[in-house]
Amino acid sequence: MSKIKVSKIKVIKIWRASSLSFQLSSLVVFAVFLCGLVNPLISYDPVLDVDLSRRDLAPSLSFVMGTDGQGRSVGLRLLKGVEAFFFPGLIAGFFAALIGGGLGAICGYLGGWVGRSIAAILELIDTLPRMVFLVLICTIYPPSILLIAMISCLLFIPSIATVVRRKVESLGAEDYILAHVAHGFHPLKIISYHILWLQCRALLTRQLIFVFSYVLFIETALSYLGDYGVQEPYPSWGNMVAQSRISVAAWPWAIPAVAIIVTIAALLAFGDGIARRDEEVKR
């Protein structure tokens, strides 16, 4: 009981001490997460929703965000469109951070020519232009959001590994890490707990959120470029913009476009804020 109380007070304290941008962005991120989590509970049939008699309706009480060129509710599609990137993005971010962090730690710990050669290979992969590579993959294989997420995950592993490797290398030269060795801690414990968990978790969280926002971004871009993303009639924010860009009304493309911009900006600001909070010197 007392523990819960303490954490409540802590949350309020942190909230008050935060900058306005962090507060706003965390609200947006919270809303997106809520949408993502309740999404599986909402049943939506994109075909049944078509009703040509109510095309291009302006936002009103019955359709809060209006309807698109096929009479579908923009609001409902926007909500359902979160599903397209939410879980794939989370999974991609999680595995990119996990594998990237692990590889980076291994390279940094091994050092020598083994570590250097793994690091070199990773850096080589990191030079691939991500967008071009994704378009290429999507033209070869039938495009799906899961494929996009998987490839994004793979493409981000090297850069995450490089950042973590540098961090592990620089921390390895610190006296307090040597002191942990001298004290008799297991090297695995030092790497995984004292270095990765205590010193790199902020960095890894930021990278996870970055990959998550990248999946949203790339899905949008690929949808717009040529139907590589989520396929009609299923909604994603990207194909909503792409489908209605020739529409007479503004809201069918403007609303998802604004949602994309706001969400990505909020995710990046949120990631930064979290990382900065965690990197502060503890007193």
Partner: protein, 325 residues
């Protein structure tokens, strides 16, 4: 005396310099540490004291030599055996910030140490034990503090509390009082003495002759990677010392006049530059006051390495004592 607790022979450690050369940080050093003894290792900065201390605890890889600790060949230990052995030798780091992980509070860190070294305790008794340890080092109200909000002396005491969480037989204390004010210094010395009990062996690495006089039993003097003199504490300043030791003692005693002190200081610091890249002979012969007149002796001193004969590695001294070269 009985078997030494730690016996090291022929230790060599070379470092690569950025320019591609090599420096010898430890140059064929033999050292014996007996149980319950406090051995002080003194010498100027860069003489290899810290490197030697770390090498003895297997914190860096040696190029040659062997170390026996408590009857066990230390250099052959691997993995879990080595970690097991680390319980019985601990180090106080010169950098006091090394005593605490910057993201762990004092109590969390002690809890970690106890979890590692006394795995049979449950969480509650660990916290209790950690509290006791903090009381012992005088940090009763500092449980939730982090590294950044502790003073240098407090950081050191956290380090001592952490060492107390293990059951060490040997503690290498690297400059345990540097950067502390006089009062805290005294507290730390008392704490070190108290921890010593009757069975703990200390290797005390220090510039601080005051501290050395206070707690050491035996003094080793190091110059450019070699141990050049070994003297029991009663003899310090009374017997005929190696000229370099004499210079160190003079520098510490400064006392008399400022001018003299400055002169002593300038020659001691100059010696660091001058002896670099020297040949096999005595590392001090170019500055040695005993060598001013005797031509043949000076040739001998520059070309031969003086053995630690009668506890002093100096040819002119042994000649004065009546030994022949």
């Amino acid at each position: 005396m009985n078997e030494p607790l730690l016996k090291a022979q022929g230790l060599v450690k070379r470092f690569r310099t950025p320019s591609g050369g090599e420096t010898i940080a430890i140059d064929y050093v033999d050292i014996d540490l007996y149980k319950g003894e406090v051995i002080a290792l003194i010498g100027e900065s860069g003489s290899g004291k810290t490197t030697l201390g770390r090498a003895l605890l297997r914190l860096l890889a040696l190029d040659a030599g062997e170390i026996t600790f408590d009857g066990v060949d230390l250099l052959s230990l691997r993995g879990s055996q080595l970690r097991e052995a680390r319980r019985s030798f601990q180090m106080v780091f010169q950098n006091q910030q090394a005593n605490l992980h910057p993201r762990l509070s004092v109590i969390e860190m002690l809890n970690e140490s106890l979890r590692l070294h006394q795995p049979l305790l449950d969480e509650e008794s660990r916290i209790q034990k950690a509290t006791d340890l903090l009381d012992r080092v005088g940090l009763t109200d500092h449980h939730q503090r982090y590294l950044a909000s502790l003073s240098g002396g407090e950081q050191r005491r956290v380090g001592l509390a952490r060492i107390l969480a293990t059951t060490p037989k040997l503690v290498v204390a690297d400059e345990p009082t540097s950067g502390l004010d006089a009062a805290i210094k005294l507290q730390t010395i008392d704490l070190l003495k108290e921890l010593r009990g009757d069975s703990l062996t200390y290797l005390l690495i220090s510039h601080d002759l005051g501290l050395v006089r206070r707690i050491a039993d035996r003094v080793l003097v190091m110059l450019r990677g070699r141990i050049i003199e070994e003297v029991p504490i009663e003899g310090l300043g009374k017997v005929k010392h190696h000229p370099y030791t004499q210079k160190l003692l003079d520098a510490a005693n400064l006392g008399s006049s400022r001018g003299q002190a400055a002169e002593v200081m300038s020659t001691t610091t100059a010696s660091i530059e001058d002896v670099q890249g020297r040949g096999p002979g005595c590392h001090y012969c170019e500055l040695c006051p005993l060598l001013t007149n005797d031509e043949s002796l000076s040739i001998h001193c520059t070309s031969h390495r003086p053995p630690l004969e009668n506890k002093v590695a100096c040819f002119p001294l042994s000649v004065q004592r009546g030994n022949t070269l």
